[in-house]
Symmetry: C2
Subunit: 157 residues, 2 copies
Amino acid sequence: MSDTDVAAWAALLRVHAALVPLIDRELQAACGLPLTWYDVLLELNSAPDRRLNMSDLGDVALVSRTRASRVVDQMVAAGLVTREPNPDDRRSAYATISEAGRARLRAAAPAYLASIRRHFTSRMTPAESATVAAALRKVLADPPGDSDQASAVPPAV
Amino acid sequence: MSDTDVAAWAALLRVHAALVPLIDRELQAACGLPLTWYDVLLELNSAPDRRLNMSDLGDVALVSRTRASRVVDQMVAAGLVTREPNPDDRRSAYATISEAGRARLRAAAPAYLASIRRHFTSRMTPAESATVAAALRKVLADPPGDSDQASAVPPAV
DNA sequence: TCAAATAATGTGCGTGCGCACGCATCATCA
DNA sequence: TGATGATGCGTGCGCACGCACATTATTTGA
């Protein structure tokens, strides 16, 4: 019964474990960009004013807020991003994608897409990939906040 | 065009990033088992003779071969697994799930399934989860070996 | 107006993780 | 049998990652 439930989850874990290091290495070999950096550039580029503060970047990208702060430092050193203070809230800092960052993103996109296609999307039908995208997006859409110990499974021990 | 291609992949990355730490914490709170340990127990339990050498464990489970060696050490210390030399090949070592390990696995399974259901499968229709499982399994089935620099994207720089 | 609560950030620290390497063992072949 | 390459394994090492905490700034409430 619940065997089919866990099957999708298990397959997701396996695919992630198999493909992320692979695609990361390919992307890095092709354009010197770690997958994490690519994702940060992507999110910044599509954000309003092409910038995001650390908290929002941590929410939307694949890095945590804590890690975002350090990754942005490295990307600033690499010239892909600039750090700017927010004049309206001096606690926060904006990470803004630079022109060089946009150029790198544009240059890397074809290789990234090719990797995804080669290892992932090409192995399924268009209908399947559409269903996968739709289903996984529904998972993300819901508020995952009900997960505190309050309503969670009572400790079995 | 290729926008729909990347959508499924991006959603997979996001779902993994959002749910794995969540489910890991829940599993650990409910039964003191990290997700990694649970997966190792699961694979060992379903392996022939309930045992696997380090290489095979690294192949099939969510840990790398290198990491498997250390995780098995910890799980031996916790009494969930035993390390046994392979008499037929003295280079290799078997990790065998212990009775205590099987008991822990059985005890943890309901909490794990509940977490998966609550955060993942319950957000999609049965047809969707079946399609997700089938599609992702096809991704895993294929030989991913063609990824060497040989046939990969020529370095753009 | 000002103190207390809240929020955004940066950082020390411990842990997880895999690569590169070396050791021991096995397989092959002359 | 003896030498050479291949294989399985464990470990030193460095990087990635997130938690807990301190700091600074903003907001709230009386």
